[in-house]
């Protein structure tokens, strides 16, 4: 993984010193709420319902054991011993004390971590495929380019006060595992006819109040032009994006307003005029960053059948929680943060330390943070899987449900977030309870539930096979359900099935929906495939069949 050089380390140290001073000025009354807000957000600090919330960046979802151990230590020392992983490679601490945040940031800097630009109207933490570097179908490892983008976007002189937040995702495989089409910019690594490396560039995707799928602005951007082209897009956006209405300020609104053709023209014109003054991406620099992502020292091992003959529980875990690896003899292992009864994405300090230790022993000391609020050990020997499973199980991290209905994504919701209209954690528990029978879950196959407590869509509800959106109805928590959304393969936005349902009815409604699937599926047909085949009508009818309270 990437290791800071003197420049990177000096920068985060200086940033901590700056924020320490800003916090001091705020507490001394020298900095107004408004001014402090602008700088604290750009350092990951929100003021939430009960306390501040600190969002720590895990750039493109890659952690060393040392870093994860440090996160565990920080969560224990400055919070309540629990952290929450989000859908964009961040770890959120929900109970830090404002005056201690500079100390937390100093701890993070000591292990080459930070919380820079994890919130605020600036370029956010860049995201990537959790299978980066180990997927069989990869054109190239996206992480070196993510790191380059991280550095280029950090404390950018021109683009730190944008109209609104700005999110970039990079993928290297045909299968999009990074939700790149719902990012402000999605970059897909590809090669042109001459074998040159570059990117297909998408722009204007996003969720929130106005979910839009990104559109192709450029079919092929040669790698050396990466930063100059990003600057051209950002400059057009910074100049012309709306600033009069926070809900219309994302780049997707600008792209939609002028149309992709005209927007492309503006960007290309800007690019031609500015590329000579824009940062060049030198081969030596690309090589330098790439050299940090060379494959670990894999052993020459055969593929083995690790599951046969083992207990059914292990077999289920093997099937659902491990993934194919491009190197024979290895597999990628999901560390499930979706144990029934726990908040999706939550992890305790002890668990962080246990995963860090385990990764050191069996996965080259690296831990991945996938988009789906779990963790992943990317490079585990197949002949060590059984031992790994036993250790994870002992820590409550082996719930064999990855890809099933209870591997759901959920934002923190009303319990913690000051933006939320409704709770998500209680609904998650209700769903976990109702779908607690693993055989039933396995029979349902791959179903992705994504839940947000408000329109801001941190839980990505628009792109869940089943999307759940919390709404406030005269002070009561109700839930609107969508069907047919997806991000893997073909990105699609879900359709609302009808009136929202009260809190206590959510899990029952979902059960009626999946029963429609069980009754109507063809051989081997997955839930999302059936929706695409028959539309949402039968599901809609089933969902409200015995339910009279909907309004």
């Amino acid at each position: 993984m990437y290791r800071y050089d003197d420049l990177d380390q000096a920068f985060v140290n200086e940033r901590v010193a700056e924020f320490r001073d800003q916090t001091r000025r705020f507490l001394a009354g020298e900095l107004s709420e408004d001014e402090f807000k602008a700088v604290r957000l750009r350092n990951g600090l929100y003021i939430q319902r009960h306390a501040p919330m600190l969002r720590i960046a895990v750039p493109y979802g890659l952690l060393s054991s040392r870093q994860l151990r440090k996160l565990g230590e920080v969560a224990r020392r400055y919070d309540r011993g629990v952290g929450h992983f989000t859908t964009r490679h961040n770890l959120q601490l929900n109970w830090p004390k404002l005056e201690q945040v500079p100390d937390i940031l100093e701890h993070l800097a000591s292990v080459q971590m930070h919380a820079i630009q994890t919130s605020g109207n600036c370029i956010r933490n860049v995201s990537a495929d959790h299978m980066a570097g180990i997927a069989k179908d990869e054109v190239d490892d996206p992480r070196p380019y993510c790191e380059i983008i991280r550095q280029w976007s950090t404390h950018h002189p021109e683009f730190t006060y944008l109209p609104r937040k700005f999110k970039i995702a990079v993928t290297g495989s045909p299968e999009d595992r990074a939700a790149s089409e719902v990012h402000d910019i999605g970059l897909h690594l590809k090669r042109d006819a001459q074998g040159q490396l570059g990117f297909q560039v998408l722009v204007g995707g996003g969720l929130g109040r106005q979910p839009i799928i990104g559109q192709v602005i450029r079919e092929f951007l040669p790698l050396p032009e990466l930063l100059s082209y990003l600057e051209a897009i950002l400059r057009v956006y910074n100049r012309h994006g709306r600033r009069d209405n926070i809900h219309k300020a994302r780049i997707k609104v600008l792209v939609k307003a002028v149309g992709i053709e005209r927007f492309r023209e503006q960007v290309e014109t800007e690019w031609r005029a500015s590329r000579d003054q824009a940062p060049r991406l030198e081969v030596a620099e690309v090589d330098r960053v790439r050299s940090h992502f060379t494959p670990p020292a894999y052993r020459d091992l055969p593929d083995i059948d690790a599951a046969t003959g083992r207990e059914p529980e292990f077999q289920a875990w093997y099937r659902y929680n491990t993934r194919e690896h491009k190197i024979p003899g290895y597999r990628a292992v999901f560390v499930s943060l979706k144990r029934h009864g726990e908040n999706p994405g939550d992890i305790t300090s002890e668990q962080m330390e246990a995963v860090a230790d385990l990764a050191e022993r069996v996965s080259f000391g690296l831990v991945r943070v996938p988009h789906n609020q779990n963790l992943m050990l990317g490079d585990v020997r197949q002949d060590e899987l059984y031992e790994v499973w036993k250790e994870l199980r002992a820590r409550g991290l082996a719930m064999p449900n990855i890809g099933t209905l209870t591997d759901m994504i959920a934002c923190p919701g009303l319990d913690l977030c000051s933006l939320a209209n409704a709770g998500t954690l209680g609904v998650a528990k209700q769903i976990q309870q109702r779908f607690d029978d693993l055989d039933y879950l396995y029979d349902l196959g791959n179903i992705e539930i994504k839940m947000s407590g408000c329109m801001n869509a941190c839980g990505h509800h628009h792109v869940g096979h089943i999307g759940i959106l919390g709404v406030d109805k005269h002070g009561e928590e109700w839930y609107q359900i969508t069907l047919g959304g997806s991000v893997n393969g073909s990105t699609a936005l879900g359709e609302v099935i009808g009136p929202s349902v009260p809190q206590k009815e959510v899990a029952a409604t979902i059960e009626r929906i999946v029963e429609v699937y069980r009754g109507g599926r063809r051989d081997g047909e997955q839930f999302i495939e059936m929706i695409r085949r028959v539309g949402i009508k039968p599901f809609k009818e089933g969902a409200y069949a015995t339910h009279s309270e909907a309004a």
């Binding site: 420049l7 000096a10 800003q22 408004d34 001014e35 002189p157 683009f159 006060y161 600033r243």
Partner: protein
């Protein structure tokens, strides 16, 4: 009295604003719209001429008159509006403005001064609550940068170059 940070010093503003009753020989800063009403007359004055550019105004429209301007004041009306950062870059990099590039308005804060300077701004109008010593020190906040930009004294390392 307006305080201006320039060349590591905070000094009283030598410029008058349009509407402050400047004499013909006084240096004066006029809003873009006013300048465009009668560019010839403004340029023909004896005193130095500056223009004030508000967010949303077209920086490229300054093209022809730019050689006659000794100062461009770019407005940052509040904490969040960052359009002026791009205007600064465009004025320096594309329109090759070599005069004084000044950041003005309520959004000019010590926490932004370093970034503003990297975008080519060389003078900064300080609000009443801004402390002069802290504003001067802000130009030295970082000694490493990632992106290309206007040179600042004390920067020892930079990652990307144009």
């Amino acid at each position: 009295m307006r305080r201006i940070l320039r060349r590591h010093e905070v000094v009283e503003d030598a410029w008058r604003l349009w509407g402050e009753g400047a004499a013909d020989s006084d240096p004066v800063i006029v809003p873009l719209a006013e300048l465009q009403k009668d560019t010839g007359a403004w340029v023909a004055r004896k005193g130095a001429l500056g223009v004030r550019l508000a967010p949303g105004e077209c920086v490229e429209s300054l093209g022809d008159v730019l050689p006659s301007l000794a100062l461009v004041a770019v407005e940052f009306p509040n904490v969040g509006d960052g359009r002026g950062f791009s205007y600064g870059r465009l004025l320096r990099d594309r329109l090759h403005f070599a005069g004084e590039l000044r950041a003005v308005g309520g959004g000019v804060k010590q926490d932004k001064i370093f970034l503003l300077a990297r975008c080519g701004f060389e003078s900064f109008e300080l609000g009443e609550t801004e402390r002069a010593d802290e504003a001067v020190a802000a130009l030295r906040r970082y000694d490493v940068v990632y992106q290309p930009g206007a040179p600042i004294e004390g920067i020892r390392r930079q990652r990307f170059f144009a």
